[in-house]
């Protein structure tokens, strides 16, 4: 703890005053046009952030909302950095990449405010989970509004924190409105604490405008968390006395009288009165604090206004973490005597080797604990590493993906095992809005080593909820790595890279490849992302295929060879990053390109490859680029229908012949 006691009444007053004065300054600046984006103020609610953060240390992790200036300042952010961020300057806490709704300062445990309502609840649970895995005393804290308590993340987050006794504080700032919508009109049970109790979490309701009450409740909740007694939900009743956001009208949904009435309950005025009446501080001491904070606020404004705007050429910096230095790593060549493993066994080896090496890796999923996973992904690992590191989850995909994100943000390495990638769709918001964007939003200061793995692909009459491909969708988003291996050897090396890198990875395993056997070298190896494999060299036509389609195309190649058609087969292995270079080189030789992809043709990876080749390899083309894709339809069940929607060796051979004849 610092030399000044943050919990002393005069310090609580100072912190609230910093928040109030800085925001009043921001409101003015917004009017003057200094803030190009949104600005949601916290005026009227300062007691909550102040009372809670008074008990937090630097390493405790705070996750906040769109209304987060107060949380950042109370957690210790320098007002200059905050104001500069809102003024969109290079010196801002997020280097001008975020603005009001994306305030990051991981150095002081400010893990970010968010433009999306509710994920912070899951991320705070994730921080708590990290503490469980690393046995640290760090506490995770989520601040959120009443609006967020209607979101699934609230129930999923509270439930997970409760069942695993995570060291977390959930702080609901119930200001009674979500934008203009009164909470009472959108909540079947408008007691947030009551909802918490229903989830089995210790829940406390308190006056959020009484900083001393908040401070006392937080003291107890933080102590419980650090003692391993589990999470607490604090429902802090409060009211914001400025509009939802600066520049918005305020009296279509509430009256001036009501707002004036709440201003009389101003937490600063209340504490000041308390300080004076209980002789806790003199009038002179209080005005000294007021003068100091006013000067600090003015200095913050001047600092921000003087700061430079970020350079445009840095706009796409930090989308991914720094690439690993050194040359590309590849699997050793498999000699004739190399042992053969199934695809499943190969990825199991990768996971078990890396888990043995790095105690920060843990796995979340349904039935992956003692049972060892639907596809034997974690067989025997529960017995070796225990429930914290091999964790059976409730069926709340969105919840545990959000939790995984928060865990990664706080230094551990979650692996989320979905069984089927179809199930991940419930968590797409967490993946794309949070996990994929986090490194960028934090200007590279937070790393996101999350591995999301699951089965893809058509087969076994699995029908449409157990057969999607999805890699094209994920590859569309900057910030994600997307891996789609086609052999046991590649799968092992690529998974080991996923488990040791710093970027979030979608590791998608084709269901029909699970039992495929192939050579897997015994010695340890890694395969770096972004390098395609030339599966088969040829001269007449280039075929690019992924996952199962690599194997199907290989089957087509032999009969074609006897007809005198020599196929060069390329497996990109990773869709993001995509190795266009190797395909270009091949097409420079063959002049012909066929892309065979089980995924739909439109807006997919096959369209991307075709566009890149048309763009960069135009003069090498001796025929139009052709594609053979899965049919654009949900996957049918009946084998006759199922077979009709995916390419097979015959249709692939046919497409190759036709292209060669053009």
């Amino acid at each position: 703890m610092t030399s000044t006691d943050k919990t002393s009444p005069l310090e609580l007053y100072r912190t609230m005053l910093v928040i109030r004065m800085v925001e009043e300054r921001l409101a003015k600046s917004h009017q003057r046009g200094l803030i190009p984006g949104a600005c949601h103020t916290y005026v009227g609610q300062e007691a909550i952030a102040t009372g809670v953060c008074a008990h937090l240390d630097t390493e405790d992790a705070v996750f906040s909302t769109h209304r987060g200036h107060g949380h950042a300042l109370a957690k210790g952010m320098d007002p200059g950095e905050l104001v500069a961020e809102l003024y969109a300057r290079e010196t801002g806490c997020s280097r001008g990449r975020g603005g009001s709704m994306h305030l990051f300062s991981p150095e002081i445990g400010m893990m970010g405010t968010s433009g999306i309502v509710a994920p912070c609840i899951l991320q705070a649970a994730g921080a708590g989970y990290s503490s469980l895995v690393t046995k640290s005393r760090r506490v995770g804290v989520a601040f959120f509004g009443d609006g967020a308590t209607n979101n699934g993340a609230f129930f999923e987050g509270l439930n997970m924190a409760t069942i695993w006794k995570l060291p977390v504080l959930f702080v609901c700032e119930n200001n009674q409105f979500a934008t203009e919508v009164p909470f009472s009109t959108v909540a079947g049970n408008d007691s947030v604490a009551g909802r918490g109790a229903a989830c089995g979490i210790r829940s406390v309701e308190l006056d959020g405008n009484d900083v001393l009450a908040v401070e006392a409740a937080a003291r107890q909740a933080v102590a419980r968390a650090r003692n391993g007694e589990g999470p607490t939900l604090l429902e802090c009743k409060t009211y914001r006395t400025r509009p939802h956001a600066e520049g918005m009208g305020d009296f279509t949904y509430r009256t001036r009288e009501e707002v004036e009435q709440w201003k009389t309950k101003c937490p600063l005025a209340r504490l000041k009165h308390h300080l004076l009446t209980h002789n806790l501080a003199s009038a002179a001491e209080i005005s000294a604090v007021e003068e100091a904070v006013a000067a600090q606020t003015e200095a913050a404004h001047l600092f921000a206004e003087k700061s430079a705007y970020p350079a445009p050429e840095t706009a796409t910096l930090h989308v991914y973490s720094e690439p690993r230095p050194g040359p590309h790593r590849e699997a050793p060549p498999s000699e004739p005597g190399t042992r053969e493993l199934t695809f499943m066994k190969a990825t199991w080896e990768a996971l078990s080797e890396e888990m043995a090496r790095d105690p920060k890796i843990f796995v979340l999923g349904e039935g992956i604990g003692e049972r060892g996973g639907n596809f034997a992904t974690t067989t025997g690992l529960f017995a070796l590493h225990g429930p914290e590191r091999v964790r059976d989850t409730p069926i709340c995909e969105r919840g545990f993906v959000g939790l995984a994100g928060g865990a990664a943000m706080t230094g551990t390495r979650p692996v989320v095992d979905f069984m089927f990638a179809d199930f991940v769709l419930d968590a797409v918001g967490e993946i794309i809005n949070q996990i994929a964007k986090m490194q960028y939003m934090s200007s590279g200061r937070i790393k996101m080593p999350v591995v999301l793995r699951g089965c893809i692909g058509i087969g076994h009459s699995a029908a449409t909820h157990h057969s999607g491909s999805y890699y094209s969708m994920y590859a569309h988003f900057p910030g994600l790595r997307v891996v789609v291996p086609s052999t046991p050897r590649d799968a092992k090396g690529l998974l080991k890279t996923a488990l040791t890198g710093n970027d979030p990875v979608l590791f998608l395993e084709h269901r029909e490849l699970m039992t495929l056997k192939g050579p897997v070298p015994e010695e340890e190896y890694y395969i770096d992302f972004g390098k395609a494999a030339v599966v088969r060299a040829g001269t007449d036509v280039t075929v690019v295929a992924l996952a199962l389609m690599v194997q199907k195309t290989l089957q087509a190649c032999e009969p074609l060879a006897t007809e005198g058609i020599s196929v060069e087969l390329i497996d990109p292995r990773t869709v993001s990053p995509l190795d266009v270079e190797t395909i270009l080189q091949s097409v420079a030789k063959t002049g012909r390109l066929l892309i065979v992809d089980e995924d739909f043709a439109h807006c997919g990876v096959s369209s991307e490859i075709a566009a890149q080749l048309a763009d960069r390899g135009f003069d090498d083309l001796d025929a139009p680029i052709r594609r053979l894709n899965g049919k654009p339809s949900p996957t049918p069940y009946s084998p006759t229908l199922e077979a009709a929607v995916v390419p097979n060796p015959e249709s692939i051979a046919h497409a190759i012949r036709a292209l060669c004849a053009e």
């Binding site: 090498d620 083309l621 001796d622 025929a623 036709a658 004849a661 053009e662």
Partner: protein, 396 residues
């Protein structure tokens, strides 16, 4: 194009014609072209077929491709010699119950003025490189688009023997072009140094003579050539001098795990280098059988691309031409090549002042100085010389 001048049949009546084989020659607006058969079958040339120089129309029946046992339609008579069918895109399929009539194919550019010229980007690039007018190139694919291969086959053949500006122009064959490119690449990317040394070959030649004499009684599958013996011994020498088999890559020296050796083979069209697999672990007989097969394929122009890949070292023998020593050129990505000279009989001084006649041959080793220094290369030659002079050592 609506019509053209018939030049000649390129197949005879009764010939079995494969799909894609040139069938007849035709002169269109600008150029002569060979028209390829789109079907297969037995060619039947009717008496009504046009004579060389006749103008024929698109769709006009010129002849028939028959299946086994099929006969040409009897309707044909001298009268409807120009009985044109509607212009077909292709000649009819062989499986059709009626014989497939061969007709003048409709080129994509049927009405030259309206349809834009269709050619692949690659074909356009090839046309620009060779300075050939695309409009003169007949398209050959299933879509009527001009492909690169159409441009290349439409290139005017340089007629040998025609003198021009004091030179006789000879065509550059594709193999010649490949050889030129590879040798240029070698020159530009290696630092070659050549060492030569002489070694005594009596023992080795005696050994071979013995094999030859006993071939029948010992049931040898083949008698290994001197070259096969040298392949075997070189592989043995490389075992203790792996760096001579190394490849330079920008960030590392790559040592091969296998010892596949290239052998330079002279063929009627030029030099090729097929590869003997696992020369270190193969028996002499296995090496001899491999090389026999590869050399035959090379001479027949039937080597596959894979037959010429994967070597870590090459042997080149000019001994049969009486060459004693030379400076062979490295075959990248390999970093060394051994030249083998002819066997000469020389007087060698013996102790005590007398002389004896000995058979000797010269080894010329060119190596890439980036990969090996002179001393390392010399040590390799020493080992090899010793093995040639004591070939039994390769057996142990």
């Amino acid at each position: 194009m609506e019509e053209g001048k018939f030049l000649s049949w390129l197949k005879n009546d009764g010939d079995f014609v494969q799909e894609g084989e040139p069938l007849f020659a035709l002169e269109s607006d600008k150029a002569a072209q060979e028209v390829e058969s789109i079907d297969r079958g037995i060619l039947r040339i009717p008496i009504t077929t046009p004579r060389p120089g006749d103008i024929v129309k698109v769709g006009q029946v010129l002849g028939y491709l028959l299946a086994e046992g099929e006969t040409a339609p009897a309707t044909e008579s001298p009268a409807p010699a120009l009985a044109a069918t509607p212009p077909p895109q292709k000649a009819a399929a062989t499986s059709a119950p009626t014989p497939a009539p061969i007709a003048l194919p409709t080129p994509a550019k049927a009405s030259a003025t309206e349809m834009p010229l269709r050619a692949s980007p690659r074909a356009r690039r090839a046309a620009a490189q060779h300075g050939i007018e695309l409009a003169t190139v007949p398209p050959g694919g299933s879509t009527g688009r001009i492909r690169e291969r159409d441009v290349l086959s439409a290139l005017p053949e340089v007629e040998p023997g025609i003198a021009k500006d004091g030179f006789t122009k000879l065509p550059v064959t594709p193999l010649r072009r490949t050889i030129a490119a590879r040798l240029m690449h070698s020159r530009q990317t290696t630092v070659p140094v050549t060492l030569t040394t002489r070694c005594e070959a009596d023992t080795l030649l005696g050994f071979r003579k013995q094999l030859k004499a006993e071939a029948e009684t010992a049931h040898l599958a083949i008698v290994p050539s001197l070259n096969d013996l040298l392949v075997k011994l070189t592989a043995a020498a490389l075992k203790s001098h792996r760096m001579l088999a190394a490849t330079w890559s920008d960030d590392a020296l790559l040592l091969p795990e296998t010892t596949h050796l290239g052998i330079a083979v002279d063929t009627p069209t030029g030099l090729v280098v097929p590869v003997i697999r696992n020369a270190d672990t193969s028996t002499l007989t296995e090496i001899a059988l491999q090389s026999q097969k590869l050399i035959a394929a090379a001479r027949a122009g039937q080597l596959a691309g894979s037959d010429m890949q994967g070597a870590c070292f090459t042997l080149s023998n000019l001994g049969s031409f009486g060459i004693e020593a030379f400076t062979p050129v490295i075959n990248p990505p390999e970093s060394a090549i051994l030249g083998i000279g002819t066997v000469v009989r020389e007087a060698v001084p013996l102790e005590g002042g007398s002389f004896a006649a000995r058979q000797r041959l010269t080894l010329s080793l060119t190596f890439d100085h980036r990969v090996n220094d002179g001393a390392a290369a010399a040590r390799f030659l020493q080992t090899l010389t010793h093995l040639i002079e004591h070939p039994l050592l390769a057996l142990v």
